[in-house]
């Protein structure tokens, strides 16, 4: 289960494997997680050019079963759930009454009555309370947090390097699809999904915690010398920022709505009703809401979360995420900006330790992988 005991940090099933690989481990969302093994830049490069292996077991997995899961879930979320077919995965946002986000999540439909819901580690307790309190109809919930591990392999070589260990034909699994299949080292078939948070091709493996080390070691044993790198949360954050993917707590919060975060593709306002729908409709119709954009710094100074953004000396927003972007070789950021300052190409200034540095508004996505 998910609660921290007396504030002590939890460890994933792969903790010893991380230490053996020389990881630097830091507290993250109540867990001791690897932030890097060798170098964020090296790990980032591996994912863009070859593949990287991630332990994401801190993220919470909820099992949802019953005939009413789809219809029930879509009353709490912006995207559709009920029309998902078995074998589909779909991004979604749980919203509050004001249209703000409780969490952004992925639903995986395993068959007619069984689903997997993956929520952010930092929201695990909040989300378990939320779905439990709102449960209705033929819906059974089980919290797998801690009992199930999550290993991701991400990068252009993912199919090639995972296939020898998986029974299913991985190339046939479409992007945002999932299947249950046997993997070497697991007792039962496990869920494999073609999803990720890096902007690259790749897979996520959902497996019992006691089988995680075996599979992790197996994948690294033969593939590491080919260039598969264990990757920490540092590289993951840079990869997702380049790929224009929202990070809860930064681009999406209880106050920042998915509409503001640029996620209108995941908001289905034609659904009859869902929590926060009226607020999102009103925000959309008003149109002048602050929104998340991309920013590129023109100089060498990185922008960081919380730095003020100015237009003509007047504050128009703030940085929400910022990092050096190795693929684009520039300092990139997201910012929450007043609508008047948010048009692509707008020239702004970011205040860094009291000095203003020029920046320009860009699309949120800084990197798009080449079509393979």
């Amino acid at each position: 289960m998910t609660t921290e005991i007396n504030g002590t940090l939890r460890r994933t099933a792969l903790f010893d494997a991380h230490l053996a690989l020389g990881a630097r481990v830091v507290p993250f969302a109540g867990f001791e997680m690897p932030v890097q093994y060798t170098s964020i830049l090296k790990e980032h490069d591996a994912v863009r050019k070859r593949a990287g292996l991630f332990d994401l077991s801190h993220m919470a997995q909820f099992s949802l079963t019953g005939a009413d899961v789809g219809a029930w879930a879509e009353t709490l979320t912006t995207n559709k759930v009920a029309n998902m077919k078995p074998g589909q995965a779909r991004y979604n946002v749980f919203t509050n009454e004001h249209g703000g986000a409780h969490d952004d999540v992925i639903f995986y439909r395993l068959d007619d009555n069984r689903w997997l819901l993956v929520v952010n580690a930092g929201n695990a307790d909040k989300m378990w309370a939320h779905v439990s309190a709102n449960r209705s109809g033929d819906v059974q919930l089980k919290n797998l947090h801690g009992d199930y591990a999550l290993i991701a392999i991400q990068g252009p070589r993912s199919v090639e390097w995972l296939q020898p260990y998986a029974e299913a034909e991985l190339a046939l699994i479409k992007y945002y699809a999932c299947t249950e299949t046997r993997v070497k080292g697991t007792r039962e078939p496990i869920v494999i999904a073609r999803t990720g948070y890096t902007g690259e091709d790749g897979f996520e493996l959902f497996l019992p915690s006691d089988e995680a080390t075996g599979v992790w070691d197996l994948l690294l044993a033969e593939n590491r010398e080919r260039g598969l790198e264990p990757c920490g949360l540092g590289a993951r954050d840079v990869l997702r920022l380049e790929a224009g993917m929202a990070l809860y707590g930064h681009e999406l919060t209880e106050e920042i709505t998915p509409l503001q975060a640029g996620l209108s593709w995941a908001i289905k306002l034609d659904k009859p009703a869902f929590t926060g729908k009226d607020a999102l409709l009103a925000q959309r119709d008003a149109g002048d809401y602050p929104r998340i954009v991309g920013l590129v710094m023109e100089g060498r100074v990185p922008a960081r979360a919380g730095y003020p953004v100015l237009a003509g000396g007047v504050r128009v927003g703030e940085i929400r995420s910022g990092s050096f972007g190795p693929t684009v070789q520039r300092n990139i950021a997201t910012a929450l900006l007043d609508a008047s300052a948010a048009a692509e190409g707008t020239r702004l200034e970011v205040e860094v330790r009291g000095t203003r540095h020029p920046a320009v508004v860009t699309p949120q996505q800084f990197y798009k992988r080449p079509k393979g």
Binding site: Q36, I40, V238, R300, P302, N331
Partner: protein
């Protein structure tokens, strides 16, 4: 050079090194510091002519994900900065005691070096941390 701590330099508890040449000190961060910080992408240095107070915060060094203060191990007037860091901040990772140096300070009071650590003392410090 035992454990990567060069002899002939002085050190601070904040993981800077100091190389004295007369009353001018060259300052950088140690190998231990660069390894802890990770890939360095930006170094903000004081301007030439600036007056620094010993152990004051005088700039920042930024890795891909984090911003860290630089606490100057010596006070005095800045008489030179490493311009090469602008285009090649990663030289701090590659060569922290050489090409990755930060700035030079003309010391007002050479006695302040008494507050710094010897290589042996610094080695002890990082062994314990």
């Amino acid at each position: 050079m035992a454990n990567g701590v060069p002899a002939g330099l002085l050190y601070s508890k904040e993981h800077e090194w100091v190389k004295m040449d007369g009353d001018v000190a060259t300052v950088g961060i140690t190998d231990y510091a660069q390894a802890s910080l990770g890939d360095i992408v930006y170094v903000e240095l004081p301007r030439v002519g600036a007056g620094l107070t010993q152990f004051g915060s005088i700039g920042v060094v930024e890795s891909v994900k984090a911003v860290s203060d630089i606490f100057t191990p010596v006070g005095g007037e800045v008489v030179g900065i490493n311009d090469g860091l602008e285009n090649d901040p990663a030289s701090v990772n590659r060569d922290p005691y050489g090409a990755g140096w930060f700035y030079k300070v003309k010391l007002g009071d050479v006695g302040q070096t008494n507050d710094l650590l010897s290589p042996e003392q610094y080695e002890q410090l990082i062994a314990e941390s």
